[in-house]
Point group: C2
């Protein structure tokens, strides 16, 4: 198979013509054409290698040979639908069940995280006979019509304001790291919202939340939050839906699911899975209890998903689980993620721009702020850092309400050396150890860069303060 059919310019031109422009490109002013990948490395059309710090979908590494082999073997045998009996779907459900608390023992297979969340909504509504949903501000649960409705991240831009529960963000939120019990305090905001909703005649079907809000800015829930919220939601007749689409399958290292970070006495009623589940193959899943599944069955209407749970998807899903175990990727997430976080915390002691470093396993956020007192988000600086890292052949991106959080969610085979390389680069960029290329000197400030330190300072302490104040942002066209 040819690595490239068209010259990059032609690809870009065809893309602009043929593909809806709502589908955006990374680095839209100078997008990257990637033609092959392996592990945590991407290669462009000229063979240049990029370190991938953000592809959480390619969970066990890009193009893992075990998955290709499993897919090809099953594609050659059978890829029918689930109206025929087949071993793969039950084998796979059984393997997933073993990772979950006992009560989450019934599975539905679908093709995307969005389909999983839509089905979770249907399950919750059918079981509770209630309609309304409590969600966290800045949450994103998918691109479908039903999910935009429960995704403030999209809803706010498309439709307007609604009432959402505050994001339990102890760095920016109403209760911060100095609060004696932020878990309880934030849970009480959910209780208040439910009470308000009841006054308006609403009936709560569910509380939906990512177990670690990612678009919200790589947020780690405070201790006790989920358990208390689940109690409040269940008191209101609703169920707790844990969206594990970004965070499941061992990304947090210590546990297979991120909701398990909240302790053994917390268990959601529905768990949705997606992204890493098939390493890029379109699979997703909903796990729930026997009671909720029974209520859904009782409506008497078949649920048929044409591709969901087919033998190839399940073969790939099984192979992903095998690789996670065989290569001890959870152990790797603990080791490398822990080291990465330490390195970033060290950088934080050197660079005032770094306001916060948070995360667990290979799910880490580094938040940039204009100054540490006000915690004002350093949106442009974060965008600059991402662009500069790209020049260093490191693919990174931002998240959070102000796009000020540099997010790490790399393939799980990310190494200690990769972590050190990224941190060295970040340090160099923030230190202003940036030598413009000949091209950039000739053309003034480069389009892809946008940030030039006026001058390196002799004294590092002075330098750090000054460089934040003296940045010049190029206006990009």
């Amino acid at each position: 198979m040819a690595l490239e059919v068209f010259h990059k310019d032609e690809t870009l031109q065809m893309r602009r013509k043929l593909i809806g422009q709502s589908c955006r490109l990374f680095f839209s002013r100078d997008p990257v054409k990637i033609v092959r990948a392996r592990g945590q490395y991407l290669y462009d059309e000229n063979g240049m290698q990029y370190l991938d710090c953000i592809s959480n979908v390619q969970h066990v590494g890009h193009c893992h040979p075990s998955l290709t082999q499993a897919a090809a073997a099953q594609m050659d045998l059978l890829n029918s639908n689930t109206r025929f009996l087949h071993d793969n779907i039950v084998l796979y459900a059984d393997r997933l069940a073993a990772t979950l608390p006992k009560k989450l023992c019934v599975f539905y297979f679908v093709n995307s995280g969005s389909e999983a969340n839509d089905l979770a909504l249907r399950l919750a509504r059918q079981y509770t006979r209630h309609h309304d949903v409590v969600v966290l501000d800045h949450a994103y649960h998918g691109h479908l019509i039903s999910l935009i409705d429960i995704s403030p991240y999209k809803f706010r831009k498309l439709e307007g304001q609604k009432e959402w529960a505050p994001l339990p963000d102890t760095y920016h939120g109403i209760y911060r790291e100095d609060h004696p019990d932020p878990g309880q305090a934030y849970a009480d905001t959910v209780k208040s919202l439910i009470d308000e909703a009841h006054k308006k005649g609403c009936k709560i079907s569910s509380f939906f939340a990512e177990s670690l809000p990612s678009v919200g800015g790589q947020i780690i829930f405070p201790t006790g939050y989920c358990k208390r919220v689940a109690e409040y939601v269940r008191e209101a007749g609703g169920v707790y839906v844990a969206d594990e689409i970004q965070t499941g399958f061992g990304r947090v290292g210590s546990h297979f699911w991120a909701f398990q970070l909240q302790g053994e006495d917390f268990c959601p009623d529905i768990v949705t899975m997606g992204k890493p589940i098939g390493n890029g193959h379109p699979i997703a899943c909903v796990a729930t209890t026997e009671e909720i599944a029974a209520a859904f069955t009782a409506n008497g209407v078949e649920y048929f998903n044409t591709f969901g749970g087919n033998p190839v998807s399940c073969a790939i899903g099984l192979a992903v689980l095998d690789v996670i175990e065989k290569e001890d990727l959870r152990g790797n997430a603990v080791r490398v993620g822990g080291h990465l976080k330490q390195l970033l915390l060290q950088l934080q002691t050197k660079h005032p721009l770094i306001g916060d470093v948070r995360g667990v396993g290979l799910f880490i956020g580094m938040e940039l702020v204009k100054d540490r007192a006000s915690r004002k988000p350093a949106t442009e600086e974060a965008a600059h850092l991402v662009r500069r890292l790209k020049e260093e052949r490191i693919v990174m991106s931002t998240d959070g309400p102000w796009d000020s959080v540099i997010k790490f969610k790399p393939p799980m085979c990310f190494s200690i050396e990769d972590a050190e390389r990224v941190c060295t680069c970040i340090d160099q960029i923030l230190r202003g150890c940036y030598i413009p290329t000949q091209h950039q000197l000739t053309n003034g400030i480069s389009l892809g860069t946008g940030l030039l330190f006026v001058q390196p300072m002799a004294d590092e302490g002075v330098f750090r303060e000054t460089c934040v104040k003296t940045v010049i942002f190029a206006i990009e066209c």
Copy 2:
């Protein structure tokens, strides 16, 4: 890869425990375990071969080696997301564009027909700034919350009655084959519905219809219907969405898309594609006009679909198009479909149970009726025929509002011999040439059968009439 891990009974037991029971099995009382497949043939765990008359998803035949090869080659190279530039997505969009009228030139790739229809709804609503949708009675457009709302087939069972446009069914509907212009007459029912909607303050965003309603009972739209409907819908400020998920990619033989059967002067504003597009791999697509795409872009919100349009999905999509061309599967659909229809029409002259035979290419319906005068649907007889065909190792199923339509939508490599085999079997079953097995004789009426003719009649004419009247239906447990 082992063909079977568990004994069939164990698979079934695990399935009942682990998979939501809303996900139903074919032949639920005695489901079939299929472990491999090739072309139009399925093989169970004992190596028994079944002829597959219904898997329209496995469009170019089960497990086509070209597709396995294309998938494996691309999986080994790269399977990233569409935020990176890649040639496959533009190559594929370009190839699809060549099959469509010029104005349908912008593409969005998603993972399922349901995701495609949900996005089509969003596009239509964004472009028209209207909300309401006109759909045909008995239509099915997907399993998502937004689509149940526009799928009377599901909505009626889950939520209740609404106003839908009558299905333009010239066999059962309000205007029949003897009407001078059923296309215009049925289009006028859409116009009336729009007028009624306007009186209630509704604003029409779109008319949604499968180009050949399939769950509705393998319906062929009368001439001129779509063009007139499109005019009425556009006058109301809406757009025409052609759901080609079941019917596209050359199934009708003479044309690549079923909407093209309505003539060159009809062109939808949005076309949705799914099922056969990836031969079982989860891909789907929305094609639309530059104007509609521009309106969607103008909302300023990114549309990102994690797996949609990835290099592997597009490689498989391209390979499907290649096989359709190289193996002249459209030509095969014309030849084999034409022959099959002729054979079924011949059976109709012999068996009063066959009320109607309709279809085009390899999309054919044979409707069973209690008697031809009343056209009362022969639901139980259709179910019996499907069960008996299963015993003859032919996989078939029913559709239509009364499940009285035997539907043919086989893999496109279906052969003349396959068509003759099915028709011979149907003839034999309907003629009562059914010799009970020893097991069935020992156990009385078999669970899987349900229909026994009391006695064969000497005179065939008398027999035919009698056999319809004297059927005994076993009560199945």
